[in-house]
């Protein structure tokens, strides 16, 4: 099931234009990776919201805080299993 086969259509890397393309490029530059993760493309219908999503997940999850990165990853893995989310 390639990304293209999602239940709700999302904007693929190659089809992104305008603000969606801009936000995708911002992420590529910041992450150093080329292919957008599926979870981020889910927000492609609202690129402004996608920016907010990347920002708040960066702020609380992908940074040192009160919990260590390892503890946060443990919570993330455990919650995702509890929510039956294979992603």
């Amino acid at each position: 099931m390639a990304d293209g086969d999602t239940k709700i259509r999302l904007i693929e890397d190659a089809d992104a234009t305008g603000d969606v393309a801009a936000v995708y490029d911002e992420w590529r530059q910041k992450s150093g990776r080329q292919k957008m993760p599926g979870i981020l493309k889910c927000f492609s219908h609202r690129p402004d919201f996608l920016r907010d999503v990347m920002k708040f997940s960066d702020t609380v999850h992908f940074s040192e805080g009160h919990l260590s990165r390892r503890q946060k990853e443990a919570i993330a893995s455990w919650v995702s299993w509890l929510n039956r989310c294979p992603y």
């Binding site: 999602t6 990776r33 599926g38 990853e73 443990a74 919650v79």
Partner: protein, 88 residues
């Protein structure tokens, strides 16, 4: 981490405090309305601070958000743990 991603809490290398935190995380995930002050007190007794407990709730709720979206869209599993760099 792999054990946790497959729901095998007992096989994950966790301290007693971390195990207590994940038990609490399960309750917040499945029935946050049923959590009690006593649940939180147990975490304090394991040495967790108020900011750490609060942050655990933020991460728990944030991943519920991502899980719902990912499942609703039906995006294929991409090993979120490897691709966890939403941004570096």
């Amino acid at each position: 981490m792999q054990a946790l991603a497959q729901g095998r809490l007992d096989e994950a290398e966790l301290s007693q405090a971390e195990r207590a935190l994940l038990d609490y995380v399960k309750k917040v995930t499945e029935a946050a309305y049923r959590t009690t002050p006593e649940d939180v007190q147990i975490l304090r007794e394991h040495g967790w601070t108020e900011p750490q407990i609060a942050e655990a709730v933020y991460i728990t709720a944030m991943f519920a958000f991502f899980n719902r979206v990912a499942d609703a869209f039906g995006i294929p599993p991409q090993g979120y743990l490897e691709a966890n760099a939403v941004t570096k």
